[in-house]
């Protein structure tokens, strides 16, 4: 299944930094995205444009993951040659990635296995 079916997203910019939030539609969806959407996922998808580090921040009680992509906007909106210099379309591209649809029971088992 596509990430789009369980989460929504918005991207923004600060200078040469792109920021993409991923917001789960519910708690089960948050468990799925927090275990599956990692900084590596972001690198796999946008590696061609990221020239710096990628950070992930979590706001679990709101079901939000916030990704920060450094040096990812061709030096930033004021001088970038990109058609979408803000990287506003990144959020929609991210929502296309596949997510494995574990059942809640599977997830709990997986999470306890991971933490154990």
């Amino acid at each position: 299944m596509q990430l789009r079916q369980i989460a929504h997203a918005r991207s923004g910019d600060k200078g040469d930094i792109s920021q993409i939030s991923v917001i789960a539609f519910d708690e089960v969806a948050y468990k799925l995205i927090s275990s599956q959407i990692t900084t590596e996922t972001i690198r796999e998808l946008f590696g061609a444009v990221i020239h710096g580090k990628v950070e992930r921040f979590e706001l679990p009680h709101l079901g939000i993951l916030n990704f920060v992509l450094y040096r990812a906007l061709s030096t930033g909106v004021t001088r970038s040659l990109a058609l979408d210099p803000h990287g506003k379309c990144f959020s929609s591209l991210l929502l296309e990635i596949p997510v494995k649809p574990y059942s809640v029971e599977d997830l709990d088992r997986k999470n306890s296995a991971d933490s154990g």
Partner: protein, 445 residues
Amino acid sequence: MRPIRIGAGAGYSGDRIEPAVELVEDGGLDYLVFECLAERTIALAQKAKLHDGKAGFDPLLTERMMAVLPGCVKRGIRIITNMGAANPVEAAREVARTARKLGFAGLRVAAVTGDNVIDVLDPASELLERPGTVASLGNRIVSANAYLGIDGIVDALNMDAQVIVTGRISDPALFVAPLVHGFGWRRDDWAMLGQATVIGHLLECAGQVTGGYFADPGFKDVPDLARLGFPIAEVSADGCAVLTKVPQSGGRLTVATCKEQLVYEILDPAAYVQPDVIADFTHVRLAEIEKDRIAVSGGSGHARPERLKVSVGYRDSFVGEGQISYAGSGALARARLALDIVAERLKLTGVAMAESRFELIGVNAVDVRNDTVTSHEPREVRARVVARTDTMQDAVRIGNEVETLYTNGPAGGGGVTKSAKEVVAVVSTLIPRASVAPHVHIEVA
């Protein structure tokens, strides 16, 4: 103490005007805030001011004031805006002129200045986005504006200004200032200033929290976007807020729309650095109390930073661009041929390019990943050539080479557009707080 009601009348310089008028008429507001100053807008405004000392403020200032001043004066709604851009004093004079024209002689209009730090910027100050110092930009600097906090606006409110026009001020501060003024919060009450920053951040992009920039048909539907209502925050003295909008206006205000806006353009949610506070969004709570009414609480904060961010605008380069469309069978092949021809022509005619892009809109211009293979032939595709040059002449030649495809390129090319411009780019640096002092200037209409 009754709640304070603040409306967001604009989320950017070119925003719609009708939703602000609707807020004035039906929003029961105490304050109307217009956030109209993007990072690069002020650099461009400074450039305009270099040509004409009376220019450099928001191009829609007069139109917006004509639309909202009558209602605001009638209802006692005070207006706070950064539409002063590079020239708040001239903007305040323009607001006063507009007020006189509307018959509101005596109206007090404040200009908050002090953000222009071009004369006190330390040449040795390091740039934030890349290696180098302010000095490395040489004589290309056109502007340097520090992000001011709430102080100038609070002073202006204390001086009974009905309209307050600023230059570069942190966006949330436009909303935090009237709350600090109204509730008398201490300037070192970091938790309260942090919560107020959350409220300001949710409001600052106006329609983006009421369902604008949210709709995704079939997944996230939003009603009546053509009549999108802009947000209102009802803020209590304890800092808790309810976000809402005018009943019957378009759009939706939900926990989901607030979540998208809460982290929009935020890096570390635990440390959103502002001039007045380092806000902490970690424990923010959002709850729907009824349709289109969302309670916001739990924002917090830490002591304000000792240095302020400065946007430095500088003449960077020139950019030339040209586009042409192809459609029907073989559109992709003809568009690719068009790009190849332009690339070869630019080489043949000796156009020096520091950086360039040859793209097919509809195939690989926005989807920046390396995967440019399409599974199906697009019905139409637009070839785009854009390049950075050292001179305006070379920039103009980029678009011209695309245009000559009309009579010299592949079959069926249509709809050429071209442009060439000087780029005023922005980089950031920091300045000690002590080097920056806001000043309030009052104009009486």
